[in-house]
């Protein structure tokens, strides 16, 4: 475990700084934006798609089971990203309309 810490020091610093940054940037969000922010953050967590693509590249083209799982995971990741950003956009456009009225 100590070895792991020594080898990955930079990454651990990066993790800690990102954690605090993540908390700080949304600290002043007004209650009305809670749901759109949640939805937007949800879309960003779809960046797991990058991992799915990386692993799809490693899979042997003869291994049909893994290929199927991989295709499903890419599909799920894309759905998370695309759906997430589109639905956030729709929520926010509805806010715009409300203000005009």
């Amino acid at each position: 475990m100590l070895e792991f810490f020594n080898e990955n020091q930079e990454m651990i610093y990066f993790l800690i700084l990102c954690t605090f940054l993540g908390i700080e940037i949304i600290a002043n969000v007004p209650a009305i934006l809670h749901t759109p922010l949640m939805s937007g953050a949800n879309a960003i967590s779809g960046v797991i798609l990058v991992g799915a693509i990386i692993i799809m590249q490693k899979i042997d083209p003869q291994d049909y089971v893994s290929l199927t799982i991989g295709t499903i995971s890419v599909f799920l990741g894309t759905l998370n990203i695309a759906g997430g950003f589109f639905v956030t956009g729709r929520m926010l456009s509805m806010f715009g309309n409300k203000k005009k009225k």
């Binding site: 954690t19 940037i25 002043n28 934006l33 960046v47 797991i48 990058v50 991992g51 990386i54 890419v74």
Partner: protein, 281 residues
Amino acid sequence: MIALVNISYLIAMLSFILGLKFLSSPSKAKHGNILAGTGMVLAVIVTLISQFFGFSVSINLLLILLAIVTGTIVGKRMSDRVEMTAMPQLVSLFNAMGGGCAMLLGIMEARLGTPPSSASLILLWSGLIIGAASFSGSVIAYRKLAGKQKDKRTRMIMYVSRILLVSFLVIPGLYLTNLLPLGLVSVTLILSSLALVYGILFVLPIGGADMPVVISLLNSLTGIATALAGILYNNTIMIAGGIFVGAAGILLTLLMCNAMNRSIFAVIGGKFNGSGVSSGD
């Protein structure tokens, strides 16, 4: 090629930071969404190019492209058709997709062969368990908000979920000390099915009115699963994106609890008598 990837990942990370920042201020929220979305598209395209550039077109690439195109179309359609009141459960459903992706990623990684160190195995399984629990939990949250699932609160659920929590520590421990006569793939499959059950039991007792808080919590869990997978692949954009969502999601969960005048423990415990939110004010 590596320089291109690194620079694009840096730009994508900045777009996530600014996107989240803008999303939390009413006047700029729309720009924030577009900015974060653009960064995401950049990250995905650059990853695709860097992974498949120079190789002949393989079935893997074709399947990825097919999945991305259908995923985009289905996602667009689902979000276009949804009604204003049904949006929170749709967010939950999309979050389930991300958790499912994290779970499948862990299974595929296990099928590829043993990762080198026990540290990476722990990362792999943590991501897998969190992803799977977030997947099934989000599906239950979706069903509750859609009115298809009622609250269930029994002692049985409480005991079983505690046993499951212990098993998430015991099973990997037994495997790593060579006491478990099972292969890596079977252990991974067992852990993911247990985590799926745990996710269901975690959300079942929680009241329907608290679902937005729970969705936010599960959302931040998906972020953490993403970050763990990112550490496994040493991929900065996955770590950064995942941790931002994880940290912001937990803060957002607490803020939502405050807005509802409830404590996070009362929500997770499924209590209603805590601060009396049910008697609408």
